[in-house]
Subunit: 397 residues, 4 copies
C-alpha cells in the first residue's frame, strides 16, 4: 500500500515520507535443532576411529558431556559414575546438596509428592539456608568419587562461594544465571564485577548462559575459561512464553562459537563453548557440535538414568520464584543406567539412548575424525515436518 | 517455465513478453507474536529497577496497560481497580453501560445464557438506545472511582457524543472502528472529518484501529493524541476468515511505530502507539513493546478477572451484525483478581498471570531500564513450532 | 560442503567444477489462500456503496460468482436462482443432465448410495451416452429459467458440441480440462486447434484450467473470451498427491492476471480471469479478487445450497477414471438456500455463509469501490498458523 | 543487537569486531517431496503417447522402477514379476536369501513374530553366515525367472562378493551403504578402493547412497555405472533423529543430477541417477523425476504387493546394529498384486496405487513425452500444509 498509494495521498497537512524503516523489515532468521540437518560430504571415517574427546578449562573429557547443575540430575554418586564414563557433572551450590546433610530424604519427598503438593514442597525445600560446611564436604566427596569438582552458583552468591570452593579444592567454578550479560546494572547493590572476579579466583571460572555474539565476546574478554550457551532453547521452555525471550539453540551456539573464533583470532586464547539445553537425542548432540559447540551440557536426558537423584523426575528452578514460576517438576522416567544412556545398547530407535554411540557414528558418516572436524561439516536448513514418509515408509542399510 | 520455454513458444499470434510482473512476486512477509522472539544482549538490569511507566495523551500510567472498551471487560468498578493498579480502562460508549441504568442485570443474563440463546440475547440487549444522561453519569462515576475517564465510540456517533463527553469531564476520547482510515468515502452521508473533529474537541482524541504506516502517518497529521493498532491480529479472530483482512500484530505495531517516529522527526510531535489485541501472555506483552508499542490494550486477559463484568465470558462485538456475525460470546473463565492477573503471584507457568511481573523481568533480562529502551532490544525471527524439546525437556535456573 | 571442501578434494581423476547449478536453487515460492492476508490502507468506503459487478464475455453479472460445471452443483433450477441473484451457473455438457431425460432420479441415487457402492454407481451413471437433443433442451430450459446459457465441455468433444450449442442459443461455451495448454500434442488423433475453434464459433469461447503466465498469454492469443484458473488448488485435492501437479491458487491467479494485463497492454483486448476452486469462505473470495481475478467459480460452497442437485453431496469427476480415481463423492451438507449462502444472514461465524456480504464488507474496509480497485489492494505474506490467539482470545468492534 | 549496540560496548579489554560470521547465516535451504509441486506449462501430451522407459547401466527398463535390496521386498519371484512388468529388482547379497537354503521359513517367522520378539528374531536371522553357493544359486534363479541379475552388497564385502557375482552371471553390482563417500578413511583395515574395484570388475558397478554434488561427481570419476541418492529422506526415518544426518530428497536428487550433468559435460559419460527412498505416491515419483532422477528405487510401496516376501511387513536393516538400532519391522499391509500397485486399477484416491499410471498421466499434463523432458518441467516451492481446502472442498474434471 505504501508504495502504490503514497503518491496520491496528500490530504493530511504533512505528507508521508517516501521511505519507511520498520523494525520487522530486518528481522534475522534463527534456527533450532529441528530446523537443520547435517549433510554428508566426500569422506567417511571408520566409526571406531572417531575421537570425541575435548579439553575444557583444564579438564580432559573423553566424551564431551557435562551433567547440568540441577538437583534432579547431579549428586556425588552420579558425578562419580559420569567421570568414570569420561564426562563430568556440575554440582549445584544452591540446591539441596548444600542445604541438607542428607539430601536424599528431601529428594525422595519431592520425587514422590503429588502434583498438587510439589510447588509448596519445592518452596519449602529451598528455604533452608546453604551451608558452607556442606559445600566443602561435597567438593571433597566429588574428588573422592573420582570426579573433578565442578560447581555452579548464581551471580549473587559467586563472590561469597567462589573463593571458598577454590580453597576447598574445586576444579572449575561456573557462574550461571538464566541470562548472563557482560554488564549487569543495579543501583541497589554492587553487582558482580566479572573481570575482577576471574582475576581474583585461583581456579578457572566459567560463565553462562548467553546467546549473543557481542555478550560472549565481551565475557571472554573478562577472563572466563568457558562459556555456556542457551536461553529458552526449547519451545517447551516457558521462558519464551512468559518473558518472550529466547534464541533457538542452533543460532545461539553458532553465534557464540563465532565470537569464540573471533576472540581466538584476536587474542590467541580459545574459550570453549558449552551448549546447554534442548538436546534429547543423538542427532541433537551431533547438530550442537556441528553448530560450533566444544561440549554439551545435558539435563533431562541424564535425569532418566537410574543413578540420577531425581528418581525419574526433574525440576528446573534452583530457586523457584514465588510470583512468576517458569518451570515445575516433570516426570522424565527412568530408562536405564547412565552408561546405557550414553553408550547403549539402545532399546529404542528414536535416538534418546546410546547418545555417544550416535554422536560418533554421525561423525564417522560425516567424515569427522574429531570434534574440530565435526564443527566444519555442512549444515543445511531442513525443517523437519512430520509430512514426508509419514505412514508406512521405512529406510535401512 | 516462463523463463525456459518462452523462447520457443511462438505459435500464438502474439508472443509473450519476456518479463512478467506477478503480484505475488513482491509479497511482503509479516510477523505475528509467535513468529518472533527477543534476544538478550550485552547488558542486564536489576528487575526491581525497571520502570514500565508511560505517558499517554496527558495521562501518566505506572503500567502500560489499557483495558479494552468491551462490555465484558470494563465497567466503573474494574476501571477504578485498574487505575489503583496503575493502568486505565476504556469505557464503551455504545454498550450496555450507557443503555441501561442497571447494566448488571443485562450482563448477568448474557453471561449465564445458553449458547443457543446468546446471539438473540445480544441483539436484543444492544437494541435499546444509548442514553446521553447515562454517558454523563458513567463519566462522573469513573472519576469518582479514582480513574481517568477514557471513553470510546465508533466514528458514526463521534460527532454526537464527543463534545458531550468533553463537557462532562472525560479525559480522553477514543474513536474506534474495526478498520480506521485517514479518509472514509461515503456518498450517502457526511463521514467524520477527523482533522476538523480533533480541532473542535477540547480534550485529546485517540483513533483506531489501523495497521498501516501511511494511514497512521496521515491520522497523526489530523491531530490525534494516540493511535491504536490491530486489525484481526489473532488467527482465531474470524475477521481474517470472513473478510480476508488482517495484518499480524508484530508487523502492524512495528509499521505504525515507524510512522510515529517519522512523524516525530518531521513535526516534533510524539503520538503514542497502543497495541490492541492478540496478547495473552507475558511474552506477548514484552514483544509488543519491543516491536514499538508505547502501551498495550488488553481484552480477554482482563475479562478473566473476578472484577470483570463479563463474569468469565467475553464477547467482541459492540453492535453485532445481524447478517455477518464475526464474533460471539466465549467463555474465558475467571482466574483471580485483576491484581493477581497483573502482578501475581501466578498459579500457572504459561505466562498468562503476573503479566506485569513478566514484562519487567523480561525488560531486566534484556537490559531495558524503561519502555523506550525496551523498544530498542533485538527481535529475531524464530517461529515457535511445537517441535523442539517437545517431550521431557525442562530448563531452569 | 561444496564451497568449503571442493578446494582440497582432488583424488578422483576429474576434479569437481567450482560452480554447481542445482535445480532446487531457483525454486520459485508460491502462495495459497492461507498464506496471504489483505492489508488495510489509507481509505475506507461505505459498504453500501461498493459495487461488485463484473462484465464477462458479454454477460453482465451483478455479483462475480459462477457456479461450477459439476453435476452436484448445477442444474436448471439452481441456474435460474443464481441468475436471479446476479451470478451465473455453468452447465456440464457431459454429465447426467445431458445423459438422462430425468437426471433427478440418478442424482438422488448417487446422493443416497452407501459409500461402498458410490464408485460403481458413478461409473455406471456416466456410461450412458450424452444426447444432443438433451443438450438443446437444457439450453432452452436455462434461458426459460431466466439464466444465460453457459455450458462446459472437455476438449475432446468441443468440436462436436460447440457448434450445436451455439446453434441452440448458448451464450458462452467453456472448454475445460484439468490442465489446459495452448498446444496439446497427440499422434493418435487430431487435437483441438483452439484458435481455429474460437474463430469458427459464433459465440464466445472460454478456456480452462491453467495456472501459467505463458500458457494463459498464448491461450488469449488464440481468441478466447475468458480464462479459468486453478489446477489442484487445494491440499485436499488429490491431484497434487497423485500427479505431483498443482500451483497454489493465489500464485496461479496472480500469474494469469499478469498475463491478462500484459495481453491487454499489447493488444487492447481484455480477457477476464475466473478463479476456479479452493474458495470456501468470504476471506478467500476477497483474496482471489485481490490476487487479480475478475470473477470466481464456486463448487462445493454452492453444493451446500438447498437448491443444489447434489442433495448435500458433491463429486468432482465428470468422467471418473476407472484406473486412476482422483476424487469421490463427499458429503458437504445442506446449510440453507442459495440466497442465504450468498447474501446471508449467516448463522455461523467462520465466513462460509453470506459470501457476498463478506466480500463487499472486505472491499469497503480496504477502500475498494469496485472489483478493479479491489485488485489493487495490498496483499501480504501472512501464513495463518493456528498458533496466535489460539485459546481464549476474542476480538471485536 | 550486534549492529545497534556494538558501537557503545567498550568495557571489555578487547572490543568486538564489527563483522561477525556465524555458521547459521549461510544455511542452504533444502527441499523434500512435500515442499514442492510441479507446474503445468504451455504444452500437454496425450497420456498414451508418453514414454517412461530408461536405460540404466546396460539394462533397458520399460518403466523406471527398481525394487529395493530389502529382504521384505525382493526375492526371486518378485524379481521375475517386476521384470515382466518392465522394471528390475535388486537382490540383497547379505540377507536371508543368501544365508538360508529356504529363506521363506525365516521370512514367515519374522513377519508373524510378536512385536516384542522381532528384534531378537532379526538379530538371530542375520547371524547365520552368507553362503557363496547360495549367491550363485540366486543369480541363476533370477535369470531363470526372466529378470536381470542385479545384486547389492555393502562396501565391506564388495571385494569378496563382486568378482563371484560377475563370474556367475550378474548383470549389475550395487555397492550400497547408508552414507557412501568417495573416500573412506580407516586405519584398522584397508577400505574399498572404489576406482580400483570398478576397473577390476567385468560387470558394471553402481554405488550409493549419497546426497552431495561433490561426492557424486567424485564417485562418477571412479568409474561407476549409476549412482543412488538418498540419506534419511523421510522424516520418519530415524537416521535424522539418531544421527542428525539427512538431506531432503528433492534437494539431494537435484544436486546429484547437477553433478551428473556437469560430469557428462566434462567427460561425455552419462551416469544415471537413481532416487532411493521417500516415495510412496504417484506425485512423489513424478517429482523425483522432475528433480532430476533417471530412475526410482522403491521399498515399502512394493513391500505392499502380494508377491513381496515380507508378507505385509518391512524392515530396513540388513544387519541390525545391536547397540544403535535405527529401524525395526513395520506393518505396511498387503494391498494387491505388484501389477496393480504399478499399473492399477487403483482402489484408493491417495496416489499410492497405479504408480506408473499416475507418473505417465503427470508427464502428459506437464507436456513431457519422455523422462528427459520430465526432468525439464517447472518445479515450484509450494509446501503442502493441510490448511487449504481442508474441509468440504472437492475438485474434479
Amino acid at each position: 500500500m505504501q508504495g502504490t498509494r503514497s503518491a496520491e495521498a496528500d490530504f493530511g497537512h504533512v505528507s508521508a515520507p517516501s521511505r519507511r524503516v520498520s523494525k520487522v523489515d530486518s528481522l534475522r532468521p534463527t534456527y533450532g535443532f529441528d530446523d537443520v540437518s547435517l549433510a554428508p560430504g566426500v569422506e567417511t571415517v571408520e566409526p571406531s576411529e572417531v575421537d570425541a574427546s575435548v579439553g575444557l578449562a583444564g579438564l580432559h573429557l573423553r566424551i564431551p558431556i557435562l551433567a547440568s547443575a540441577m538437583d534432579a540430575v547431579v549428586d556425588v554418586r552420579l558425578a562419580g559414575e559420569l567421570a568414570r564414563l569420561g564426562g563430568v557433572a556440575v554440582l549445584n551450590l544452591e540446591g539441596v546438596q548444600t542445604r541438607y546433610e542428607d539430601p536424599d530424604a528431601v529428594l525422595a519427598r519431592i520425587a514422590s509428592a503429588a502434583d498438587a503438593d510439589v510447588q509448596g514442597l519445592l518452596a519449602e525445600a529451598y528455604a533452608s539456608p546453604v551451608r558452607e560446611d556442606l559445600i566443602a564436604r561435597r567438593i571433597a566427596e566429588l574428588r573422592a568419587a573420582g570426579s573433578p569438582a565442578v560447581v555452579a552458583a548464581t551471580p549473587g552468591v559467586a563472590r561469597r562461594f567462589g573463593p571458598l570452593c577454590a580453597q576447598h579444592g574445586a576444579d572449575l567454578f561456573l557462574v550461571q544465571s538464566q541470562v548472563s550479560s557482560a554488564r549487569h546494572l543495579a543501583k541497589g547493590y554492587d553487582p558482580l564485577e566479572l573481570a575482577e572476579f576471574t582475576r581474583s579466583m585461583t581456579i578457572p571460572v566459567a560463565v553462562g548462559n548467553t546467546t549473543s555474539y557481542d555478550a560472549a565476546y565481551q565475557l571472554m574478554g573478562q577472563g572466563i575459561a568457558a562459556i555456556f550457551v542457551g536461553v529458552g532453547p526449547g519451545a517447551a521452555c516457558t521462558t519464551r512464553e512468559v518473558l518472550g525471550i529466547g534464541v533457538p539453540q542452533i543460532t545461539a551456539i553458532s553465534d557464540v562459537a563465532a565470537a569464540r573464533d573471533a576472540f581466538f583470532d584476536d587474542t590467541g586464547r580459545y574459550v570453549p563453548v558449552v551448549a546447554d539445553g534442548g538436546m534429547r537425542r543423538g542427532g541433537e548432540l551431533a547438530k550442537a557440535i556441528a553448530a560450533g559447540a566444544d561440549a554439551l551440557m545435558l539435563g533431562s536426558p541424564l535425569a532418566r538414568a537410574s543413578e540420577a537423584p531425581g528418581r525419574g523426575t526433574n525440576w528446573g528452578m534452583a530457586t523457584p520464584s514465588p510470583t512468576l514460576p517458569r518451570g515445575t517438576r516433570i516426570r522424565v522416567g527412568t530408562v536405564g543406567t547412565l552408561e546405557r544412556i550414553l553408550f547403549g545398547p539402545a532399546h529404542v530407535t528414536d535416538g534418546s539412548e546410546n547418545l555417544i554411540g550416535a554422536l560418533t557414528q554421525s561423525m564417522a558418516a560425516l567424515g569427522a575424525r574429531d570434534l574440530a572436524a565435526m564443527r566444519q561439516v555442512e549444515m543445511v536448513y531442513a525443517p523437519s515436518v512430520a509430512a514426508e514418509g509419514k505412514s508406512w515408509q521405512v529406510r535401512g542399510r
